[in-house]
Amino acid sequence: MKLTKSFNRSLWVFHLNTGSCNGCEIEIVATITPRYDPERFGMKLVGSPKHADVLLVTGPVTKKMAQKVRRVYEQVPDPKLVMCIGTCGQSGGVFYDSYNLDGPIDQVLPVDVYVPGCPPRPEAIIFGVVKALEKLERLEAAQ
């Protein structure tokens, strides 16, 4: 994976709900409020995966969503990162034994950063973004 210069300046994030209860979405919205204001670092949510560097995935990946998740992942230009927000994406959470899951998310996509919590607090999500940046720096150093 060859990193582009855009990673040095900012991370543009596309959020994808794969069957989440909306708890993680509320915390993601809380993260982008002026209280935390990640946009001052150039990080923001975008409306299309084609503009994104990071795919922010919430939810346990239902069967209906699995193909859509793969398609959206493919539409994010390389190089890209996948961040999994919440317990559902990690293990299925309370839906772990549901008949209707293709997830958790690592069964469908390669995940770079997990942010555990049900839902995780904004501080945890920001910590996850820092971990993602650290991973990018390591990748860049290895190039």
Binding site: K2, L16, P49, K68, R71, E74, Q75, P77
Partner: protein, 115 residues
Amino acid sequence: MDLLSPVQTGYGVWAPLAWLIAFVVVTIVVYLIWNMGESSYKKGTDQVRPYLSGNAEPEKGAVHIRASNLYWGYLQALKGYYDTMVPMHTGILTDYIVWFVAVTALLLVIVGGLS
């Protein structure tokens, strides 16, 4: 005649050299914009298809506005007429022959009755 010299047509000026320079400048600008594009895009994958909330791209014919949409209001205004006439146009040749024979017989009766 010099091919590159301006020509006065009476309506305006045709200056091939100016057009040639403009064409070269535009070509250079287009090339520079194209060169700034994301070269790592993979052709033939979903990266080059439109984003439709993760859904597959439908066929062009399924999403484009059809010609019949243009006269939708006309069809709607004459709905009673079309509701009657369209089922009568079955596309079956024998049906049309029956209509032809029936209308001809009706005309013969009317014309014969009048004369």
